[in-house]
Amino acid sequence: MKSATNPQKEMEKQHKNPVENLIAEKYKYGFVTDIDSDIAPKGLNEDIVRFISAKKNEPSWLLSWRLKAFRLWQTMSEPSWAKLNYAKIDYQDAHYYAAPKVKPDIKSLDQIDPKIRQTYDKLGIPLHEQQQLAGVAVDAVFDSVSVATTFREELAKAGVIFCSISEAVQKYSEIVQKYLGTVVPYSDNFYATLNSAVFTDGSFVYIPPGVRCPMELSTYFRINAAKTGQFERTLIVADRNSYVSYLEGCTAPMRDEHQLHAAVVELVALDEAEIKYSTVQNWYPGDEQGRGGIYNFVTKRGACRGFRSKISWTQVETGSAITWKYPSCILQGDESVGKFYSIALTNHFQQADTGTKMIHLGKKTRSTIISKGISAGKAQNTYRGLVRIQPGADQARNFTQCDSLLIGNMCGAHTIPYIENRNKQSYTEHEATTSKISEEQLFYCQQRGLSAEDAVSLIVNGFCRQVLQELPMEFAVEAQKLLGISLEGSVG
């Protein structure tokens, strides 16, 4: 394949798979230089932390912050309170740094798991996007770069900063330093501390005062976003009276060789600013027997620092073998608002322990929690949430609704709400339901001509409607399809 000698064969090949050939050609010219050395040796110690910081040419404040985190992390142990069951992770048996343009071990989509490809097709993802998602080396081949450039220019006009966090550390060091670790401190928890020590990249967003970000921001448009790695770090700052909607991830399954993911996302909303953060997470969930799959331990937190600040988290979690994730809001500013809308779907042997924390500090703060958990196969799905109203949070309100839907008899749903109200003028409401997709609902839909799988998907989408309508339109449509796909094989 590398040296095509017969021109006619070459033509045929090009006809069949132009990308494969293009990449082969690049190899001919030695496109991939000797960058293997950009992978740090296995294991984690102070030298590795220094190595990462040096590779990224970081200022000394950041290195010392990383080192503080690392030293603390060494004294910490993994939390075990979640309702999750998994083999112990060997933190020394992993690489903690690989240069972003790692040597592509995938030359064409033909080398991707056919199941993942089927999913791409079902989601209707265009070929070049599929290649990008799958990690096929297609740098500069398609026009995605120019799209991204146009996109950037428009943002620049509005004064919005949207770049990788590595770039931000170089260019906007003072903003990063001012906010990094102020919402999720390096000492926060085992995974966040690990992330603080070894994070390699992620996104940075800054919206200046009074600016309404002219478009939904999505990592897809960020240059060189293809491989952010397993310790992603994202920081979004919305200055006074600004607005931004940020979309994380995408609905297509991500090919990823790392099993452990420990991301940190920090949001800061100042006076009357609003941040809407939407996630669709569809990493590899493992196979039907529960082999493989991503372990996803994420710390996401937003601080409503100002008067009437607003932060809403909307998540659709269908991937990963293990999900440990509690996007939270600290409602410091008076009359600030926190929202959490979640769909967590687990099938086969997936386990999810997810929910939110709403910490009411300011007066007249309000929070809303809508959680929809769906379990199928032998999966376990736990909602774990904390609503805390501090003594100074006069007239605070919370509304929580947790609904669980079970498909089949082998799965589990659990709801663990913690409610701590320390202010007599404030009140909380909590509603929870558990239901099953009934045989009669299925029969009714099938009697109208829908296949069993379409019927399940329809019923599940109906169940999730409240959350789906919070997603940006385009995202919602894909998320609906995704719910159906994720449940395949869940009905006999």
Binding site: Q441, Q446, R448, L458, N461, G462, F463, R465
Partner: protein, 257 residues
Amino acid sequence: MTNIVLDIQNLHVMRDGKKILDGLNLSITEGSLDAIMGPNGSGKSTLSYVIAGHPNYQVTQGTISYLGQNLLNMSVDERARAGIFLGFQYPIEIPGVSISHFLRLIYNSRSRQLGEKEVDSFTFLKKLKELRLQLGISEDMMSRSLNAGFSGGEKKKLEMLQMVLLRPTIAILDEADSGLDIDALKIVASTINQQRQQSKSIVLITHYKRLLTYTVPDKIHIMSKGKIVKTGNQDLALQLEEKGYDKVIKAPIAGSV
């Protein structure tokens, strides 16, 4: 000539180890209106479920053929797409699924089967409006969740709307008249009559002859203890009304099976 749409021979059916249908025979011809009457527990609803393919009923003996095909080999949705419609006595609620979305989904699924083009939402909504007005269904109902919190009459009208949209070859309507006021009853009856004019076969499962005064069946079958025990014309319904099931079932009447 008269073609047989559905042919049931010697049907035996169990549910949870209990025999419910016990050697039932029934033939439905194209464009005919048949009424099945009978006391509670005689197996009328079971018959409709078995024809539709409900998984909780086991056919232990007998055959059902539909347009010459072995119906028992087909899944619930295959039967539906092939043109068998069951109007439910108690339509099932599906929260969060809007009616208009559901209707378009099932309409297009049937269209594909019939080799017709799927329609876009604009064309569909136009069609839906026309049918909706005929049935006296209000527009705001279309955005509500399927069957959730509906009155009995609303649910039954919605079943009729689905029947018309799905253009079935045969529709089995289980207690289509229960819970209807007189206006709704007339609407249901006229919908049934329209279907008949289009050579669709209709099987009405009913307790009372109320509906049968607005839409006169070609045949009336009386069911008892899991089989059809008598078949006759409109007179049979009148006799039932006068004498009750017990006497009619026992009496030897000319023109019975």
